[in-house]
Amino acid sequence: MKLNGDHVLKAPRNVVWDMLMNPDQLVKITPGISELNKRDETNYEAVSEVKIGPVKGKFKGDLELKDLVKPESFTLVVTQQSKIGNVKADVVIHLDEVGNGDTQITFDGNAQMSGLLARTGARVVSGVANSLTKQFFEAFDKEIELMNT
């Protein structure tokens, strides 16, 4: 499954970068993530709960930040396991300055599902992914707003 899109955040690039590198912030803005335990600078253990429509599952796994080019780009590698199936996603994230001190996040990657998640139809799963992305950026916007006020 392809994962791609973009979103403009009302914050300078280095602020966005720092937020993305800060586990406490990430837990706040990432939908469903309940725990993010730092193993080292770029590796985390993540526990999340996804609850959308017919799907509700508790996921556990790794989150790794790779190929860090501060403050421009990095690759996010997420592997998550659950009883309803597993997900492995590789997403390249770019941060671009787009004027007015705003930053555009562009992401492009692939998620490979297995087990029941893969079998129950791409429609539900891609919908979940879109929905989570939307929620993520909404929360990100909100967090930036809070920071700005």
Binding site: I52, G53, P54, I84, T120, S126, G127, N130
Partner: protein, 279 residues
């Protein structure tokens, strides 16, 4: 296929159901979306609160300006209701198009819209019909305009501690017509594209239009661009064709192995045209 263990709680009234409803519980109405998901263990609630025996929410009442459909009314009973056939024929018609006979015998309108499957028929029809959703909670009842109800992918304005009790459908005016047409996903028979159109005319000119889609995006939506293009014009084939070009304007169109984004967007135009042309 065996669901994980859960507690089954039967509610005799909405008040009782609300009181029973715990944080990790689910409401069981017809069960036709929930039970299969539980059998696949995509969902493992602690308990189910069964509201399917509450007769008070199964009635379909003919009021002055509206028909009030109890949330527990089955698709089958809606499709056969004479008041709806007369005053809101699109609603009765679509009820007979959902699922199959067995599903219609058990599935309820309340369960369907609470579930908010992005390809279900009801959301588009209720949007076009300008319905109101009546919701109960421990704090009393509230009424939500359908335009504010469907929020996103399986997401509605309904909170976890609330239950839909009825849906109010305004009676169709003498100068208005409506219909729903869908292009089905051949396996599930859910909509790849479903278009509900409700149009009022004054002397051949469109005075009001509500055009809504399901299946196209991650949530049912109103195609405002079509509505605006239609208003003030006639329903000539050319005019309809031009108006329907805006079926997916500003919308993220879904894609799956039955219909790519491009094809789905094309179907949305075609089905808008077909639905509107019937009016």
């Amino acid at each position: 296929m065996i669901p994980a263990s859960f507690e089954y709680k039967k509610a005799n009234s909405i008040q009782e159901a609300l009181a029973m409803l715990g944080e990790d519980d689910k409401i069981l109405a017809g069960g036709h979306s929930l039970v299969p998901a539980m059998k696949l263990r995509l969902n493992m609630p602690e308990a189910l609160v069964d509201i399917s025996k509450i007769e008070a929410i199964q009635e379909i009442r003919n009021n002055d300006q509206t028909i009030t459909i109890g949330a527990g009314a089955t698709h089958a009973s809606i499709s056969r209701n004479e008041d709806l056939k007369k005053h809101a024929p699109m609603v009765a018609e679509v009820a007979g198009m959902i699922g199959d006979i067995q599903v219609r015998n058990r599935g309820t309108i309340g369960g369907s819209i609470a579930h908010a499957d992005p390809s279900a028929d009801w959301p588009a029809v209720l949007l076009a019909a300008d319905a109101k959703i009546v919701i109960a909670s421990a704090n009393g009842n509230r009424e939500v305009d359908v335009d504010q109800f469907f929020k996103g992918f399986y997401e509605t304005a309904l909170n976890d501690n609330e239950i839909i009790t009825s849906i109010k459908i305004p009676k169709s005016a003498a100068n208005a017509n409506s219909c729903y047409m869908k292009f089905v996903q051949p396996a599930s028979r859910f909509a790849i594209v479903g278009c509900a159109a409700a149009i009022a005319k004054d002397n051949g000119t469109v005075s009001a239009a509500r055009i809504a889609f399901t299946g196209v995006s991650d949530s049912a939506y109103r195609a405002k661009e079509i509505e605006n293009a239609l208003k003030g014009g006639d329903l000539s084939a050319d005019h309809i064709e031009t108006a329907c070009a805006g079926a997916t304007a500003g919308v993220d169109v879904m894609s799956d192995h039955f219909a790519s984004e491009k094809y789905r967007a094309h179907l949305a135009c075609v089905y808008a045209k077909r639905a509107i042309s019937r009016l």
